[in-house]
Amino acid sequence: MNLLHTCEVTLHSLRTRAIRSVLASLGVVLGVGAVVGMLAVGEGARRESLGRIQSLGVDNLIIRAVRPLATARQDTAGAATASALDAYGFTERDLIHLRTRFANVRQVVPVRNLRKTVYARGRPTDLILAATTPAFLDVTRSRLADPRGRWLSALDGEAMNLVCVLGRTAADRLFGAADPLGEAVSVGGMQFRVVGVVASEASVEMAGGGPINNMVILHLRTAAALFGTILTSPETNRLVQVEADAVYVAVRDTAALPDTAARLRAYLGVTHDQGDCQLLVPYELLEQEKATRRMFTIVTGAIAAISLLVGGIGIMNIMLANIFERTREIGILRALGARRSHILGQFLLESVMLTGLGGLAGIALGAGIAAAVERTAGMKTVIAPDSLLLALAVAVLTGLLFGTYPAWKAASLSPVEALRR
């Protein structure tokens, strides 16, 4: 018997009971829709956080300066304290210790947020002014966006060259289509010549820090000489001494990274016990992400199982009703030469088509949910093709599973009994 033709007949049979068919497969539609939507949101979130973590560099450790809680409390209470100086974060002494006592450490790159306004063409901008060492380019996996330009060199620090490098976005915002190379930006009355433009996927995790593309970058030594290590913070009317808002630590041997992280954590526990340094280990975040994802998968799977169970029961119910109603038809078909297997196949096909079409509708619904979430909540969603295939396969399997009993029941009717109805 021709399968295509059978499908045609089955489709026809479903169409004659259109409302019932739609209602019956609604459970599957909603179940598949919810799962596809959830997976899309989950996958979007996963990729976003994965991207963020990877942009930090999986073979890096990052030490971030955190303004200690005690100081913050003093501020809000407005209590008169002797000192208006907030000093916190990783210090020069720590950097030396890190460079000399940690065998696995390859590079130590401090980054400071200078908390100063950058002027370009006489107008203030809200770009981040950062200062760092030449190794920054390497550890953040940044690259020159314009081959004619150059990155900061050791010589810039020694010679106190008044030069800076712009992040790609910063360059666009300051100079638009015009060539930024050779132009100048002004900070604290000093002019800095732009010598290069960098592009990077990474962001610097530090107070007020953000995407490298959004930065104006000076050499750390030049910046320290010009602006000192103590900065003013006009918003809070206090002084801030932070020697490194963030420190990138690149290791030699990635396999030993967990050990190095543990040692560094222990060191910070002793030397920065007031919690003004936070250790960020992208590798650990990646592991956590995996664990979170496992949880998410289990939860999604459970929801999928429950909703498809409910959907499947709905299908079984409706198929039993169909078969009860169509007993005579079954008898007629048997009298005309249909075997048990034909009847079994037809009703199985019918329930599989119900759930399969329900699954397709569910995928459309899920895509709609994902699009709606993306638009309203501004969350990135990704519909992975294999999740669609899985959803469809599970829907079809539900039809097979819950259609088997009704179909078997239909097939086992004797022709005489069936015709008597």
Binding site: M1, N2, H5, V9, H12, S13, T16, R328, E329, I332, L333, R334, A335, L336, G337, A338, R339, R340, S341, H342, S414, P415, V416, L419
Partner: protein, 223 residues
């Protein structure tokens, strides 16, 4: 040898005290190309006999040879295949499927016999045209009169060109002239060497057939 041989065929229902003999052991032969009527009161066993002949219900005992092959004790699948190809069944209430047009209805037995789609549509159109419904191929059964529906059912019974046509009170739901028309079609089919076995209540038709088998209380009283 006869087309159909029944030897010691019986059918009982239930067991023990509730045992009911619907058909006592009987021997019957049906020759090819003859038009036979089976008559008898309600409960005489004629429907039971018809179900056995149509392979819809297996006999409790006995041998049923169709074209020399014992078909009573085959598997369900084998009996279904033989039912579809060798036996055409016409019912009192037509039993057409209301959601299919009449050509699709005629196609059903061919579908199960594995005929190709194009071939079966051609064959169905040809049969319906022969029975005077050539201009109604895409009508639904509900759009036709009772007599027309029964002609569709006859076309369907002929679809796989079976040697035997079983008709279970085919005129029961029709008025007198329409019933006569159906009987005339069966006579023509018998004349063309097809074996027709018809259950009927109507004694008028006894003269229209070549042979009458009468059942009473599950026994053959005239053959």
């Amino acid at each position: 040898m006869s087309l159909i041989q029944l030897r010691g065929i019986s059918r009982t229902y239930g067991a023990g005290e509730h045992l009911v003999h619907a058909l006592h052991p009987s021997d019957l032969d049906f020759d090819a190309g003859r038009f036979t009527a089976i008559i008898g009161a309600s409960g005489s066993g004629k429907s039971t006999l018809m179900n056995i002949l149509g392979l819809l219900d297996p006999p409790t005992t006995g041998v049923y040879r169709l074209e020399g092959q014992d078909v009573a004790h085959l598997t369900d699948a084998a009996r279904s295949a033989i039912r579809g190809r060798k036996i055409g069944i016409v019912f009192q209430s037509f039993n057409l499927l209301p959601h299919l047009d009449i050509r699709e209805n005629v196609c059903i037995p061919m579908r199960y016999a594995g005929v190709r789609k194009r071939d079966m549509r051609d064959r169905a159109s040809e049969l319906l045209t022969r029975l005077g419904l050539g201009n109604r191929l895409h009508h639904r059964p509900t759009q036709l009169s009772g007599g027309q529906c029964q002609r569709v059912a006859i076309a369907r019974a002929l679809a796989n060109d079976p040697p035997v046509i079983l008709a279970d009170e085919p005129t029961g739901n029709l008025d007198e002239p329409t019933g006569r028309e159906v009987i005339r079609i069966f006579q023509e089919l018998a004349a063309a060497a097809r074996t027709i076995i018809m259950i009927t209540h109507n004694p008028d038709y006894e003269t229209a057939v070549q042979r009458v088998i009468e059942l009473h209380d599950g026994r053959v009283v005239r053959a």
